[in-house]
């Protein structure tokens, strides 16, 4: 049985879009991903066995679109270079130890409202990363690609990958603390 487009879109578009917004950098990109998901679902309807629910099937298509987006971004040249400075002493007795004023504070993210706000702040902070670094970071964190694949796509060496991940985590963490506490 062929589903009605209106029904599918009304039932699942918000659910898919909400997920896409949390994983993708902008409203427009999230909307495109949702549209592509529906189009791709309708063109491959014959592949849908009905074993899993429609929702699960659509989510799996959307997840692939998200990874595809970051794969493309990872391949791009590194245009906006990060101006982020490492939060460690550059010299002296405490060389390479945390600068006190930028060192991690304790976080308290347990109840629902806090988690919700935390989510929003995290989204904001991801925007601060250079596009290529964000793509590398997301591909690795979402565990959809092996390190080798990420390196090959982004045309970087493994050591470079670990440095990007390290810097991204330091930067996101610090940004969250500034915005949220």
């Amino acid at each position: 049985m062929v589903p009605k487009p209106e029904e599918w879109v009304n039932n699942y578009a918000d659910y898919l879009y909400n997920y896409a917004r949390y994983k993708l950098p902008s409203k427009e990109i999230a909307e495109d991903a949702v549209q592509e998901t529906f189009l791709s679902a309708f063109t491959s309807l014959k592949n849908f066995k009905g074993g899993s629910s429609e929702k699960t099937w659509l989510v799996s298509i959307l997840k692939r679109r998200i990874v595809d987006f970051y794969r493309k971004e990872a391949r791009k040249a590194d245009r906006n270079v990060s101006s982020f400075k490492l939060p460690f002493y550059e010299s002296g007795n405490f060389e390479n130890h945390w600068l006190e004023q930028r060192a991690p504070k304790t976080w308290d993210v347990d109840d629902k409202i806090q988690l919700d706000e935390f989510h929003q702040v995290l989204q904001f902070c991801l925007q601060l990363l250079p596009d290529k670094h964000r793509a590398v970071f997301m591909l690795k964190v979402l565990e959809e690609c092996s390190s080798e694949e990420v390196c090959a796509r982004a045309n970087i060496k493994p050591n470079n990958l670990w440095t990007i991940m390290h810097r991204a985590r330091l930067q996101i963490r610090e940004c969250i603390e500034k915005k949220w506490m």
């Binding site: 995290l122 390190s147 991940m165 985590r169």
Partner: protein, 101 residues
């Protein structure tokens, strides 16, 4: 005196600074680190509160980015909704698609 110097050198080789320790923390989240690095990291974490916090916070960030769509709609109050206009556009595109088939 000489022994002391050797000892300091040995300690330096084993002890990590926070830059190195946080790099290993990050690496450990993405994959494996060698057993010797694991020991060095454990030693560092024994008396570095800042790196312990960095470890917990990085785990939290990863965990939240990995959230599943169902958890997202259950655990979060705020949910994004797609514009009605975009919905209509999607339906139009799908209909175009089936007309062409």
């Amino acid at each position: 005196m000489r022994y002391k110097k050797v000892l300091v050198k040995m300690m330096d080789a084993v002890m990590l600074n926070c830059d190195q320790a946080s790099l290993l923390i990050s690496k450990q989240l993405d994959g494996k680190i060698s057993w010797i690095d694991k020991i060095r990291l454990k030693l560092h974490l024994l008396n570095c509160e800042f790196c312990n916090r960095f470890n917990l916070q990085s785990k939290k960030i990863d965990e939240i980015l990995k959230i599943s769509p169902d958890d997202l709609s259950h655990k979060c109050i705020h949910s994004h909704k797609i514009d009605q206009k975009s919905k209509k556009k999607i339906i139009k595109e799908i209909n175009k698609l089936s007309d062409n088939q």
